[in-house]
């Protein structure tokens, strides 16, 4: 449709241009609402599905301290899922609809969680690189235009720093350990480095939602800019560990003041997004099973409510 923007739309865009936050009861274009519901709920789903690859290692963590740390981290991810689902619900969609969209595959979550965590080294890499990449994105989203989303990002970023550091600490221990431990660290870095870069999404020129999202300031920095930031900051971290960098084409570019990186395998990216990663089916079927097995808790809540209501009616 080529219709001119209405007064409402112009006023809305003026607020955005002036760096005003949009709050739940403000008027907003249908496209803004739709775009945000997609992005925030996808983010929420990622937090929740992200518990699975890490939860996998809770019973196998190499010490009681590591187990406690991993439990605390997975507990945080559940909390982050909750903040984000609640922020999505301020846009007038229900939790049940959101969960249904995840379970039926209409909604996506970060593809990275379709990769299996095969070794203890992967728990290190997931914290260091996967949470590290997520933090790059989330720090930028603290300035997103929708108030409830921005405020949950601020809360989440405060908590994420521990996640990345505990991951890097696992890597430091492995890297200075036995040759077997060091090669476990290297192997894990090799497997997770590229998928971590894919977390920033397609190149700006290929990204379906980018232009609108930037105009509405839902996104504050582009996929490629954020990815570059992550690539640059990761180089000294890999060097310090004494591991080999997985990108053989990586080169410092004096002129740009950034590293030039090798090309991502986009075929793998699209394959995993389209459901053909190692764990796509497992992640969703586990979520469905957990949801169904948890039905008795929700039933108990309802029964309790009904009982209390009846008791109050009797007393009145």
């Amino acid at each position: 449709m080529n219709s001119l923007p209405s007064d409402l739309e112009r006023a809305f865009q003026a607020k955005i241009d002036n760096e005003y936050k949009i709050e739940p009861k403000d008027w907003m274009p249908a496209g803004y609402r739709k775009n945000l519901i997609r992005q925030i709920s996808q983010h929420a789903h990622s937090e929740v599905i992200g518990m699975q690859p890490e939860g996998h290692w809770i019973t196998r963590a190499p010490s009681l301290r590591r187990k406690a740390v991993l439990l605390a981290k997975v507990q945080d991810e559940a909390g982050h899922g909750l903040y984000l689902y609640s922020a999505t619900e301020t846009m007038g969609i229900t939790r049940a609809e959101l969960i249904d969209a995840l379970q039926t595959g209409q909604a996506k979550y970060a593809s990275i969680f379709n990769y299996p965590t095969q070794t203890w080294g992967d728990i290190g890499t997931v914290g260091w690189l996967v949470d590290g990449a997520a933090i790059c994105n989330q720090v930028s989203l603290q300035r997103t235009s929708y108030g409830p989303y921005a405020r949950s990002m601020i809360r989440i970023c405060k908590e994420e720093s521990f996640h990345q550091r505990q991951g890097y600490q696992i890597m430091m221990e492995l890297a200075k350990g036995t040759p077997e431990q060091k090669s476990m660290a290297q192997d894990s870095l090799n497997r997770f480095y590229w998928p971590s870069l894919m977390m920033f999404g397609p190149h700006d020129s290929e990204s379906a939602h980018s232009a609108k999202s930037m105009k509405w300031k839902i996104k504050r920095e582009t996929n490629d800019d954020l990815r570059q930031k992550f690539i640059d900051q990761t180089v000294p971290q890999i060097e310090f560990l004494g591991l080999e960098h997985p990108d053989k084409d990586l080169k410092w570019n004096e002129e740009r003041g950034h590293y030039d990186a090798g090309e991502i395998d986009w075929e793998e990216f699209h394959n995993v997004i389209n459901g053909n990663g190692h764990c796509n089916r497992q992640r969703i079927s586990h979520h469905v099973a957990a949801h169904e097995e948890g039905a008795w808790v929700r039933d108990a809540q309802n029964a309790y409510n009904a009982k209390m209501k009846a008791r109050r009616a009797e007393a009145a």
Partner: protein
């Protein structure tokens, strides 16, 4: 009408767009709509806010001050939830 017949409301004010509503105090009013007007007159006389929430005080469920130590102690022995628990070598920058 005596004050006892009026309901107590808690008042929350958002000082500028993008920030959380913060609790600023309470007041008596005959209903929520009036509470909003009174809150505006009482708590935002100097442009302290751009949005107000009022909630019946009776509807607020609060943790008990006396039980606070036991209520919050689950997090006392978990220093590993803090980023500062993990020292970082300065070569690797911030995390």
């Amino acid at each position: 009408m005596s004050l006892e017949n009026l309901e107590l409301f808690e008042v929350f004010v958002r000082s500028s767009r993008g920030l959380d509503h913060k609790h600023v105090g309470s007041l008596h009013a005959e209903d929520a709509e009036h509470a909003l007007d009174y809150a505006r007159d009482c708590y935002t006389r100097r442009s302290e806010g751009i949005s107000i929430w009022v909630v019946k005080s009776a509807d607020i469920c609060s943790s008990q001050e006396d039980d606070a130590p036991e209520f919050f102690d689950p997090s006392d022995d978990k220093p590993y939830r803090h980023a500062t628990y993990y020292p970082l070598p300065k070569e690797v920058g911030n995390m």
